[in-house]
Amino acid sequence: MTKIIVVTSGKGGVGKTTTSASFAVGLANRGFKTAVIDFDIGLRNLDLIMGCERRVVYDFVNVIRGEANLNQALIRDKHNKELYILPASQTRDKDALTLEGVGTVLDELRKTFDYIVCDSPAGIERGAQLAMYYADSAIVVTNPEVSSVRDSDRMLGLLSSKTKRAEEGNGKITEHLLLTRYSPKRVSKGEMLSLEDVNEILAIPLLGVIPESPAVLKASNSGVPVIVDSESDAGQAYADAVARYLGEEVPLRFLEEKSNWLKRIFSFKEKEVV
């Protein structure tokens, strides 16, 4: 049975596209045939994060309008042959996505894919609602910051009322919290909401914590999802989150300040040499 996952947040800039890209790669790396769809019509960016921006010929809206078939629009990932990207259109037509159109495309994808990851746009407009409508599970990406937490709670409200599952009473969407841009150092100083704080407020199962990391910008600069950088803290944290999503028990990492005295001595020495 194909599973449709929506990556959503309400607030912009919290890491939805970064998460969609890394999650899709993570699932494909586990051998699942995975499609990742950009629902941000007019502001296409998943292609850049996945590093396939120069290979976009047809897009999601072309398929919905019958101007191209799905196989023409799907872009096969460079590194993983189980992974395909369906880019968003750059049209400014807000009504380009329709409920039926999206449903038809998803039904077509269901025939061959194990997982379909829907990268939601920010906000609560049409694109965001359509991205979540057909979902079986939701990854709510949240930063430890007041506006992000509030918007995430708002999205949880929409997930429990404005989706196909909710409307048909067909079981609840499974909700997962992914806390991103987490800085243990600032949490310990009392400057940032802690994991426990956010957990207590949103009260949905935790999928993972992605530390604030230079690796994320480095990854988007080079168009390679950060999960591919398996040396990096953020990359490892994403791999852990994917494992948890698949039901494995993986302890949380990167919740403590990096204060290894050995490391400190080494970094001191390095500085001296330079």
Binding site: V146, R150, E191
Partner: protein, 91 residues
């Protein structure tokens, strides 16, 4: 005297540190989110129905519109619409 004050305020600052901002954030979020969650389940027509109900009552009784409480409570299997209206004392 100034010196004493200065020392005193430094001491109080040291021992009663100003509240950490993360704690403040959590408290503010808890309040606003519980408020918004309570409203979330309200149907869209509630606001206009509330207004019309009050208009009807105001036709017959002089009521203070601030002394009216309308609440919708979800209970198992049903919703309870509670109107709490303070009627003015009859003279």
């Amino acid at each position: 005297m100034n010196l004493v004050n200065n020392v005193f305020s430094r001491l109080t600052n040291h021992f009663c540190r100003p509240q950490k901002s993360a704690k403040k954030a959590k408290e503010r979020l808890q309040i606003i989110i519980s408020h918004e969650r309570a409203r979330r389940d309200h149907p869209d027509y509630l606001a206009s129905m509330q207004k019309e109900l009050l208009d009807v009552i105001a036709k017959y009784v002089a009521i203070d519109k601030d002394a009216v409480r309308v609440e919708l409570e979800r209970q198992e299997g049903c919703s309870v619409l509670e109107l709490n209206i303070v009627l003015p004392q009859q003279e």
